[in-house]
């Protein structure tokens, strides 16, 4: 009896060792490509060509100079990406909260129909309307403008869905009633009382909206043809072209620069991001 218990313990020990090895292996697999990217950003092309190394070298400055001497302007790209992502995030978070509030607090005739409609349009792929969208913006002379990349964020069905769930589970209508008695207008109630209460949901959704907009390639690639308007993901595609063909050091440098802000955001906010991902799947 005692023997079988120790045997079971031993097997569990072996199993656990295997599990840890697999998990550590997967973690290394997650880190390694990025590690090589950051390390190679500091190595000269000759060093990169001569073999793999996991330790940084001293050519950071040279790579930066080569990178920026051609058509690659990372600061400009960073700024463009930031303007688009920050404004679209602000708009989508605010207006989604407003729409969700309208859906939860007021009892209007079309409420249920409107919510069903939001559910229906949630899964429509952007590519499905891209050609019409491009042509329409072209007719309005809004290609090479940031507006077509920012304004559509006001209608974010998935985010409205999420915020509605959040309000349904946390908001007590008594707060709304109380502020009405205090003479607060409906709009003021939303802005001054409800929005601050929604901070956790707003923050989670803001992170995801920002990252999604920051990483978006398809729409900016279609709309922005003027080089000074390029976002970082489009700039990345320049690194594939002929201009950097043999300058591997600066290619890695360019890649590292585009990824760096996301690594910073991720490691600062990973706890909330993981919690947010988990929440996204549990829609019950």
């Amino acid at each position: 009896m005692a023997n079988s218990v120790t045997a079971a313990k031993a097997t569990r020990g072996i199993n656990k060792t295997i599990i840890y090895i697999v998990c550590i292996g997967l973690a290394v697999l997650s880190i390694l490509p990025f590690w090589i990217m950051f390390v190679n950003a500091t190595r000269s092309t000759a060093e990169i060509q001569s073999g793999l190394s996991l330790l940084p070298s001293t050519h950071l400055k040279t790579n930066w100079d080569v990178l920026t001497s051609k058509s690659f302007d990372p600061l400009k790209g960073f700024l463009n990406s930031f303007i688009i992502s920050a404004s679209s995030t602000a708009l989508s978070v605010y207006f989604s909260a407003l729409t969700a509030y309208g859906l939860v607090v007021y009892n209007w005739k079309w409420r249920q129909a409107f919510f069903t409609f939001i559910l229906c349009v949630m899964l429509i792929p952007t590519q499905a309307s891209a050609i019409g969208f491009y042509k329409f913006m072209y007719q309005l002379h809004l290609n090479n403008s940031f507006l077509p990349l920012i304004l559509p964020a006001i209608a974010a069905p998935a985010m409205v869905f999420f915020m509605r769930q959040y309000l349904l589970s946390t908001l007590s209508l008594e707060i709304v009633e109380a502020s009405r008695i205090d003479g607060s207008g409906e709009f003021a109630t939303f802005n001054r009382i409800i929005l601050p209460l929604m901070t956790p949901a707003l923050a989670t959704q803001a992170i995801f909206a920002f990252v999604a907009s920051w990483n978006n390639l398809f729409m900016p690639l279609i709309l922005l043809t003027d080089k000074s308007k390029y976002t970082l993901p489009i700039m990345v595609s320049l690194l594939r072209g002929d201009i950097y063909k043999t300058e591997f050091g600066s290619i890695y440098m360019g890649l590292a620069l585009t990824a760096l802000p996301l690594f910073v955001i991720y490691f600062l906010l990973s706890r909330y991001i993981i919690a947010g991902v988990a929440l996204g799947g549990v829609k019950e």
Partner: protein, 325 residues
């Protein structure tokens, strides 16, 4: 007359929804209808010309489906790339979920593992595409250096020139970017299962395997279905990785040409065939809509129905009260 003092708040429901509806109509609905319209026309070329509806309105669709080998190839590629990354992705995610949620195993450092395994998902896909294409560079990319150092290959390998290798790498990148995401969703799903079920299984002497296959998996059905459909709709739009991983996009020999890459290539390269691209978009739209409809049909949850019932009961009560007054 009670009405006098009360304010009708219902109108605010409409007012607060106006921005959403307006923006949706202008930036989503109209472009979608316009895309559908373009699909029936002869619109092509960079210089705007008068546009005519084709004599046979469905000609673009017909040509795409019956005469265009690259379009059909792009559909099958999209499916191949999706299925070859989804199956290993869900399998690994389930395995990790089983490990991480097993109380008896009590795996340490789960928080850190989750953070690291999810990490590739948050980094720009374009950056990852170009990074991998540089890592697999010929003749002296890091992967070739590694293979050489380990003695796995005698000569440098042209990874990106072989159809199946190129496809395999694209599908690996997708897998690598998404399995962490799926895992976190599944773990959250397991956390949501009633603990009494696990206790009952433990009391009945179920082994880890039995508990997982008989209790955990059946309870995860809804969430796995959700993951499946969202992954399908997402996979249908696969663009960044195949667009930037190999130049020219879709190569070698159309092996990684996905539907989105096809649409982009038709509309914004070569002959600027907006009509063909629009028709292809509409075909994609129909597939996505069918998938979404399937999901809503399969997932129509009881709570929604109950809510509606409750509302109806409320309305009835309100009406009865009104009549009573």
């Amino acid at each position: 007359m009670r009405r006098k003092g009360t304010i009708n708040y219902a109108k605010y429901g409409y007012i607060f929804s106006i921005p959403f509806v307006l923006v949706f109509l202008v930036f989503a609905l109209y472009p979608t209808l316009y895309t559908a319209f373009i699909g029936f026309t002869d619109m092509k070329g960079v210089i705007p010309k008068p546009v005519h509806i084709l004599d046979n309105p469905f000609q673009n669709f017909k040509e795409l489906i019956f005469d265009n080998a690259s379009f059909r190839q792009s559909l099958s590629n999209t499916f191949i790339l999706w299925i070859t990354n989804f199956i290993p992705q869900i399998a690994l995610a389930l395995l990790l979920t089983a490990w991480f949620t097993n109380q008896r195993l009590n795996i340490k450092g789960q928080g850190m593992f989750k953070v690291l395994l999810y990490m590739p998902n948050i980094i720009t896909a374009s950056t990852i595409a170009v990074l991998f294409s540089t890592l697999f560079a010929f003749p002296m990319g890091p992967v070739n250096s590694l293979f050489d150092a380990l003695g796995w290959s005698d000569a440098p390998i042209q990874f990106l020139q072989q159809k199946n290798t190129a496809r395999g790498i694209v599908s690996f990148i997708q897998f690598w970017m998404w399995y962490g995401n799926t895992m976190i969703i599944l773990i959250a799903g397991v956390m949501g299962i009633n603990p009494a079920l696990f206790e009952a299984a433990a009391i009945d002497g179920a082994s880890g395997f039995q508990t997982f296959f008989r209790v955990t998996l059946p309870s995860l059905r809804t969430i796995m279905l959700f993951t499946l459909i969202t992954s399908m709709v997402g996979g249908l739009q696969m663009f960044d990785i195949p667009q930037l991983f190999i130049t020219p996009a879709g190569g070698p020999d159309n092996a990684t040409l996905t539907t989105s890459v096809f649409i982009y290539g038709q509309a914004f390269k070569g002959a600027y065939m907006y009509n063909k691209a629009a028709a292809a978009s509409m075909i994609m739209f129909v597939i996505a809509a069918a998938l979404a409809a399937l999901m809503f049909y399969l997932m129509r949850d009881r709570s929604e129905g109950q809510l509606r019932k409750k509302l109806r009961a409320q309305k009835k009560a309100a009406k009865a009260a009104a009549r009573g007054m």
